[in-house]
């Protein structure tokens, strides 16, 4: 269950993933309340609300940045995802690239998928001033404060950069001290985006590195040739004690989970968000 009010006894969170514990989830079977608690079922609470499009920005040929202002107080952690509703029957989930303290508004990176009902609608029809329906934020892929000295490896393909952009900036904002390595993979240079922002972030923070990777035949200046995951694993062979974030293509994410685990990362420190677009 999830506590919406009141202190959660530590014992009732033993064995839970740290990201779940951080969101006040607990095991009802081992919970002896120490005071008044208000609780909900784990899968309730994902209501919808309206939001206003404040602007759209072109990130690359296929990817649009969508900026939204929710109609009411909105709580989320960078890297979580929300459901964006086109109409009653059609909706898709998109990850949050924004950081509440830095951006004010919600920032989504929406990649156009061929024949995709929602992504094409966003690309073709949405503009500043439009109203849309969104869900509350969901998901376990986000930065946790605590152990700021641990190194972090972030690997994403395509618009899998979206949650990682949020997570990396969130970690830096919270004063993370360990190294943070972000690998973004695309077949071609044109599939990369937010390169200038990430380069700037790298120049401002000594412990942050951004490595764009292109896996296609044509080498691209400033990019490492090869797949992001392979390059990351070759350069960081011992991931013992690291925190790992993996987002994007499900095949990449699933293989990456196994490979980073084999390289020494603890399963509880591997955060993954597979999605097909």
């Amino acid at each position: 269950m999830k506590a919406s009010k009141g202190a959660v006894p530590e014992k009732s969170q033993a064995g839970l993933r740290p990201t779940l514990a951080a969101q006040n989830y607990f095991l009802a079977c081992s919970c002896v309340p120490e005071g008044d608690m208000e609780v909900t079922l784990p899968d309730s609470g994902f209501g919808t609300l309206s939001a206003t499009v404040t602007k759209t920005t072109r990130l690359n040929d296929d990817t649009l940045g969508l900026w939204l202002r929710p109609s009411r107080q909105y709580e989320y952690r960078p890297g979580q995802f929300i459901r964006l509703h086109k109409d009653e029957g059609n909706s898709r989930c998109y990850s949050l690239a924004s950081v509440p303290e830095l951006d004010g508004e919600l920032f989504l990176n929406i990649r156009r998928t061929p024949g995709g009902l929602v992504s094409n609608w966003v690309h073709e029809s949405l503009g500043a001033g439009d109203q849309v329906e969104i869900s509350e934020a969901m998901g376990q892929c986000f930065y946790l404060p605590g152990s700021p000295e641990k190194n972090m490896l972030l690997v994403g393909t395509g618009s899998g950069l979206s949650p990682l952009y949020g997570i990396a900036r969130d970690a830096l904002l919270m004063g993370h001290l360990g190294e943070i390595h972000l690998y973004h993979g695309s077949r071609h240079r044109g599939g990369l985006y937010l390169e200038a922002e990430l380069a700037q972030l790298m120049s401002r923070h000594k412990n942050f590195s951004y490595v764009p990777c292109t896996s296609g035949d044509e080498p691209a200046a400033g990019c490492l040739p090869g797949r992001a995951l392979d390059l990351a694993l070759a350069r960081h062979q011992d991931l013992g004690g690291w925190r790992v974030y993996l987002c994007g293509n499900p095949d990449m994410v699933n293989s990456a989970k196994r490979k980073t685990f084999f390289a020494g990362a603890s399963l509880k420190d591997i955060h993954a968000d597979p999605f097909g677009f």
Partner: protein
């Protein structure tokens, strides 16, 4: 003091689960039985197994063990695979510097599930 507490309780289980599951997944004799399963869900099961082997609270009956592994027995799960898992259990505990007499107690508990796991 119970075996579970002697080995180190919940903390020992948490320390063991990564080491044990990594050994199992890397082992070509048995990793085909874990193809395509969700790693997080599987790790939770490995943790439950380790808790049992460490003499912790057991929430599984023999019938549960039979039902849970029947589809694997149908795919050829046999004594040699069970032996491989036992090997990894012992090696994991050794790596965690658990004394030999406690390792053999844990192994005996795990061994007691063999017939149910293999539907014998």
């Amino acid at each position: 003091m119970s075996l579970f507490d002697e080995i180190g309780g919940e903390g020992a289980v948490n320390a063991a689960v990564d080491i044990f599951y990594r050994k199992v997944l890397k082992d070509d004799r048995i990793n085909r039985f874990f193809e395509g399963v969700d790693m997080d869900k599987q790790a939770a099961k490995q943790k439950a197994f380790l808790s049992v082997a460490f003499g912790g609270p057991n929430r599984y009956s023999g019938a549960d063990m039979r039902r849970g592994h029947a589809h694997l027995v149908a795919r050829g799960l046999n004594d040699s695979h069970f032996d491989a898992v036992m090997e990894h259990l012992g090696a994991t505990l050794k790596e965690l510097n658990v004394p030999d007499n406690l390792i053999s107690q844990a192994a005996a508990i795990a061994e007691s599930t063999r017939n149910d796991v293999l539907s014998k």
